[in-house]
């Protein structure tokens, strides 16, 4: 059984008379431990897909099963609990709370799952350790470089041992060198057995993942555009190189 099962999912917005299909009948699976990228130009619907997968949004039609649980008709409270326990997010703009220290930022998800103070600190330090940020625990986000902030954000995403981590353009706000380092951190986490979904418009970044889902106009593209994805160059990481969902 796949970790995530997406069946005929559509997301339809209405702007007056006009109907906008942000997602149109998407069906796919993500297996446990997979390292996967969702790629597509802006406005393609990839963000909508991520929001639905990440339980930030619910689909207009279709069903999602996450870790064996149907996410359908769940209350906002239940969705919050699922986000808290099973999902980690990493954002383009890091989204650390500026008034809190790095440690407090990493503790944040555990505050909402009711973990006691001591355990919170221990687990946060462990998470910071795993991204190489333990020595910056007492710093404020504003005192850190972009790459360091993103590492702290990754520690926060990992701290509740989620089933799946979504990274939305995680390198979009970093220089290429730092971005490279963040990507290799994801690769490392992947080898440790984490399920990671990279969401990006950049084929070079998508190239690091063994599997890619390309979204275009709200649908999963049948054929990957090799020139766009630059796959002729990036097929190396192995596995089922052709990311087309058949």
């Amino acid at each position: 059984m796949a970790l995530v099962e997406l069946r005929n999912v559509s997301k339809i917005y209405r702007l007056g008379e006009e109907e906008i299909r942000a997602l149109d009948d998407v069906t796919t699976d993500i297996a446990e431990g997979e390292f996967i990228s969702i790629i597509g130009p802006s406005g393609s619907g990839k963000s909508t897909l991520m929001h639905i997968l990440g339980c930030l949004d619910s689909p207009t039609k279709g069903t999602i099963r996450l870790d064996g649980v149907m996410i359908h008709g769940a209350s906002s409270r239940q969705l919050a609990a699922i986000r808290n326990q099973k999902i980690g997010f990493v954002f383009q703009f890091f989204n650390l709370l500026p008034k809190l220290t790095v440690l407090q930022n990493v503790e944040l998800p555990m505050i909402y799952s009711g973990v006691s103070g001591k355990e919170r600190r221990d687990r946060s330090m462990a998470a910071l350790e795993s991204v190489g940020m333990a020595n910056r625990a007492k710093h404020r986000p504003s005192q850190l470089s972009g790459g360091q902030q993103q590492r702290a954000a990754i520690a926060r995403a990992l701290v509740n041992s989620p089933k799946i981590v979504f990274a939305d353009e995680p390198t979009g706000n970093l220089d290429s060198h730092t971005g490279e380092a963040i990507l290799s951190l994801f690769r490392k986490l992947s080898t440790e057995g984490r399920t990671i979904v990279l969401v990006t418009h950049d084929p070079e970044i998508a190239a690091v993942t063994p599997r890619r889902i390309e979204i275009r106009d709200g649908r999963i593209a049948e054929k990957i555009d090799l020139t766009l994805a630059g796959l002729d160059r990036a097929a190396a990481p192995g596995g089922p190189a052709a990311g087309a969902e058949a």
Binding site: H51, G54, L56, D57, S76, R77, Q78, A80, A81, R83, N84, Q85, F89, F91, N95, L96, L97, K99, L108, P109, I111, Y112, S113, G114, V115, S116, R156, N160
Partner: protein, 481 residues
Amino acid sequence: MKTSSGALRHSSAQFSTTVAAGVREIWAHKFRSLLTMLGIILGVSSLVAMSALVSGMEKGAKEALVAIGGLEKVRIEPQDIPIDQRHLADQAVGITINDVRALEGNAPLVTRLSPEMRLSATVSAHGKSFRPWMLMGVWPVALEMSEHVIEHGRMFNEIDDEMARNVCVIGTETRNELWGSPEQTGREIIPIGETIYINGVPFTIVGMFKHYESEQERKARELAKLEPKTDQPKDTVARDRGRGGGRRRGNFVFYLKNATIYIPLNTMWMKFRTGITLTGFGGGFQATGGAGGATGDPRLSNLEIRIASVDTLPEALQQIRNVLMSTHRGIEDFTFRTQEEWAENINNFIRDARLSGGLIAGISLLVGGIGIMNIMLASISERVREIGIRKSVGAATIDIFIQILVESLVIAVLGGLAGLVTSFGLVHLLSSFSPTENAPIVTVTSMLVAFGFSVLVGILAGLFPAIKAARLNPIQALRYE
């Protein structure tokens, strides 16, 4: 199932963290928060100060009420004859000693009777003269009736009254005017045995009442007594003189008691019968010339009676009325004056003062609450992104709601506490601004009520911003710049 029990576990473990976050948020905007709190501080302190002032007034009024004899005392006064009985005016007997005898025999609900003849007199002695508030001819029982206490000498007795002796009992005010007050002379003069001329007639002073004053005056006096001893003793005389001269009269009721002179009723009748005042406090009654009524019995200025208990007041009044209607030949030339009216007036006044003061203080608390709401709305629109982040890591709607509500509550609670502290200063300031005889009393109840209101205002003010914040869509909140 699992989530709901988990959520419950949340709220308890989370609470201290939420409060800490609220405090941190407020600390991050110190000046802004202080300004916001100021509304609550002023509201709470004005509520407490207002209540303290009213409580002080209430206490002063109650003290005065006890000083004049309490609720059980009723005064029977002469009154204009009703219009439909005017033609019988020449037959009206007025309030006389005869009434006293009749009431003694026929009104069991009356426990004590004290007839009074009043005269406004000039007294002189020691080369000075003074117009006391009232010269009263009374029976010795008047001592208990009017809650008088003899401090020096004795009250005149039945024999003095029977023999119509020229003896009198004075109050401290008369002594102060004629011989000088202790503050002026530096020692207390007790003029027992001295001769005093009342409208030219010599009287021997046999007794002096104690000095009546409100608790506030007593404290002030004791303080003044202590003060000069501690610093410069040489300066004492000069300073005391200045103080004595500019001294405030104090509570009027206490002044009246201090400035009253008592002489035996019979003496009054024998020596001054033509001048006796026959008007009640209401005024307007025309004395029928001379002191004798239609029956020739000595007429009284008024008759004070004490009844067994306040509970039987209406019955007692009815009883007295029945007796008097028969002795007065059915002519209603008397009226009752009860302290109950006064007590009710006090209560009404206190209630009105409390209500209007509370309303104003309440409005200022409300304004404080609007300030909180305003700042909370500004705060959440600054923190849309933060709310989005919190939601993305798993904060439920209720978590955000509680967070914003707690922040608003923390402002209100801190403001409320600061307001309680400030209220003491405000009370001090107010009592120095508006010199009242009654020291304000800060009550615990008023502090609790004021604090409770500030908490309530904090909750109400936080409610709308909290709902607004909690309803934010996480996706839009995360995108918000």
